[in-house]
Amino acid sequence: GAGVSQTPSNKVTEKGKYVELRCDPISGHTALYWYRQSLGQGPEFLIYFQGTGAADDSGLPNDRFFAVRPEGSVSTLKIQRTERGDSAVYLCASSSAVGGDTQYFGPGTRLTVL
């Protein structure tokens, strides 16, 4: 079946605007992770879901960032009052179970805040 998909692939917004980034995990995968990758850096953990609940959101940088997964499948990362420092590639990964050995990554959404 299809891998992890993310939309949009690119998002350009202005400082102060609100954005939503979507992740469609591999069908049947219960664990879903969001990472942020800045230029020249490795992915940095933001939040993970087991089913519908956010089991660990310790990586979210501040309260402008929020993520949901209402039906335990698709997830949306929401960023309020965007700042230029939020510019990065936002990666989503899914795994068949929390702690599953393999996390399958999507292609990412490149967010640019002008």
Binding site: V4, Y33, G40, G42, E44, F45, Q50, D56, F105
Partner: protein
């Protein structure tokens, strides 16, 4: 605080050479150490992984060497090819959600 430290930042080798990328970690609770390969515009893809009870793992041209006492592990690419040119990330699994902590990446260029 960087949980996993990776070096070198970049590496250039001739075709057929054996690039080696090194990583070090501090948290002894980490229980799984994957290497990911990333091409421009793509998400990271799992290349090979090892658990701390094993000192070496080989899959095709890729080998991980693991030194538990030194808390270090490395990736060796045998007979490197131009198609191996990519960014490589080491990672370690831990934390409440068993999330991955990534190194800062190594940009590998294999010259034909």
């Amino acid at each position: 605080q960087q949980q996993v430290k990776q070096s070198p930042q970049s590496l250039i080798v001739q075709k057929g050479g054996i690039p080696i990328i090194n990583c070090a970690y501090e948290n002894t609770a980490f229980d799984y150490f994957p290497w990911y390969q990333q091409f421009p515009g793509k998400g990271p893809a799992l290349l090979i992984a090892i658990r701390p009870d094993v000192s070496e793992k080989k899959e095709g041209r890729f080998t991980i060497s693991f030194n538990k006492s030194a808390k270090q592990f490395s990736l060796h690419i045998m007979d490197s090819q131009p198609g191996d040119s990519a960014t490589y990330f080491c990672a370690a699994r831990g934390g409440a959600g068993n999330q991955f902590y990534f190194g800062t990446g190594t940009s590998l260029t294999v010259i034909p």
